[in-house]
Symmetry: C2
Subunit: 275 residues, 2 copies
């Protein structure tokens, strides 16, 4: 649980991923040491910061598509985000956002912003993977250590709960399917907003843990589409590996809100010490 | 078939998507009027040009990840590509590339370049969709008109051949599965190189035609991962829709070379007049 030193009031993810304008197109942010894996900040957490900056400089408040290329991991601490409004349209805008630290570029992203309409219902969803039915209470919370003992500080903050079918890797018995299913909750019952969904698609452990255990899998590229405003509460997640080739793996991630609506999905390419 | 006015020698896709340096980080290119859909250039074709520019300014010759956000379609004719080498690493580099026309930004992309190793074999591929077995000769070539009569000039250049199971939409009888399977060939037997695979993931008609016919589906964002150097010859393609919600659809595309190796895959978010 995140508790501010001053006064014991919990720090929200909204605040931890918040950005503060220091110029019309420049923002300051602070990468928390608690939202890290073996000391490295989570990639989706960084993209959420870029998303907040992008929404601030565009006339549209929701990010509907975000693509980030990771140059080098920043250390926990202050970072600077520079934005460029590429085009401000009527129904959508495009923004470039770059995170740097001590003058070194860390993450570069392109984002399309728009306005999600809560009144709309999905028109066709037959192409989506089947949604699980296992209840939140029937999933076990992941501990903040990998099987080889590395500390995954972020798991002390978020709740990643895995379905029994996906929990094999925690006891050295992965299923081989390359698929992790379960639930994700932010600390203190905080709900997801459309921009924090950029984090949700990168919060689960690598789906490759369900194939063969390795060190963490660093993200090279992450693309997220946000499709709807999520209902309050935890979200259901499916993280799936497709192909390991030449020491790289791609994963797809699907995020449904508590009502069973697909609210975000993403793909990422990562580096892996297999193959 | 593309035939140059001067002398009848076929123009290769390599040449049509080529870029010529006019400064160390600036390139000229020419968008062909023949690689268009209802007059608008194909998005993957434009991304291929950006890919060639990105590879030119980095020490690595292959693009392994590319993400493009489409601001506005350029007209066929001259375009300018500006590049910025974001980071040149030992095993990978990151580049930003922007296409503009008459000073207006059209496509903005981030690309990660690296070197694909032809000697490596896939380590794990169980997460991929099942590959079709229908032969090239058993697939029917798509004509350069949509069912509503719009001209799809690009289909006179490339060969898109659909499996019988995916051809229903051409006679007003879509299957409802939102899936198009078939083959793709460049003109005159030209093979794909790793950069022209950026085009291959966007060459098929919208997979939504297999659900309900609409006008063409403009690409808002396109992300491509190139996973291996393709063998010569046509490639096998699976284009699949996942979710139509709020007049947007996402599609996944898988590209296998003739030997059955997955060489590229991509996702895109498009606008659609459904829902």
């Amino acid at each position: 649980m995140s508790v501010a030193a001053s006064g014991g009031k919990p720090v929200t993810f909204g605040a931890l991923s918040g950005v503060a304008a220091s110029a019309p197109d420049r923002f300051d942010a602070e990468v928390s040491p608690e939202w890290t894996i073996a000391g490295k900040p989570n990639g989706g957490y960084l993209l959420t910061m870029l998303g907040r900056a992008a929404a601030s400089v565009s006339a549209h408040r929701h990010v509907i598509a975000a693509s980030a290329h990771y140059l080098q991991a920043p250390e926990p601490g202050p970072v600077v985000i520079d934005t460029e409004l590429l085009r401000g349209g009527r129904s959508a805008s495009q923004v470039r956002a770059r995170m740097s630290q001590d003058g070194e570029a860390c993450v570069d992203a392109l984002l399309t912003t728009s306005q999600l309409d809560q009144a709309v219902a999905p028109y066709w969803e037959r192409g989506l993977p089947e949604i699980s039915q296992v209840a939140y209470e029937d999933c076990a919370r992941l501990v903040p250590r990998t099987p080889d003992g590395s500390r995954v500080a972020i798991m002390d903050q978020i709740e990643v709960r895995l379905e029994p079918v996906s929990s094999g890797f925690t006891t050295g018995d992965p299923s081989g399917r390359g698929e992790l299913r379960g639930w994700l909750a932010l600390p203190n019952g905080e709900g997801f907003d459309p921009i924090s969904l950029l984090f949700a698609v990168d919060a689960f452990p690598p789906a490759t843990f369900d194939i063969e255990f390795t060190g963490w899998v660093p993200t090279l590229e992450l693309t997220v589409y946000v499709r709807a405003v999520p209902a309050p509460g935890p979200v259901r997640v499916l993280q799936r590996a497709q192909l390991i080739d030449a020491q790289r793996v791609d994963e797809s991630c699907y995020v449904w809100d508590r009502t069973g609506r697909l609210v975000a999905h993403g793909v990422q390419l990562g580096g892996i010490r297999l193959g």
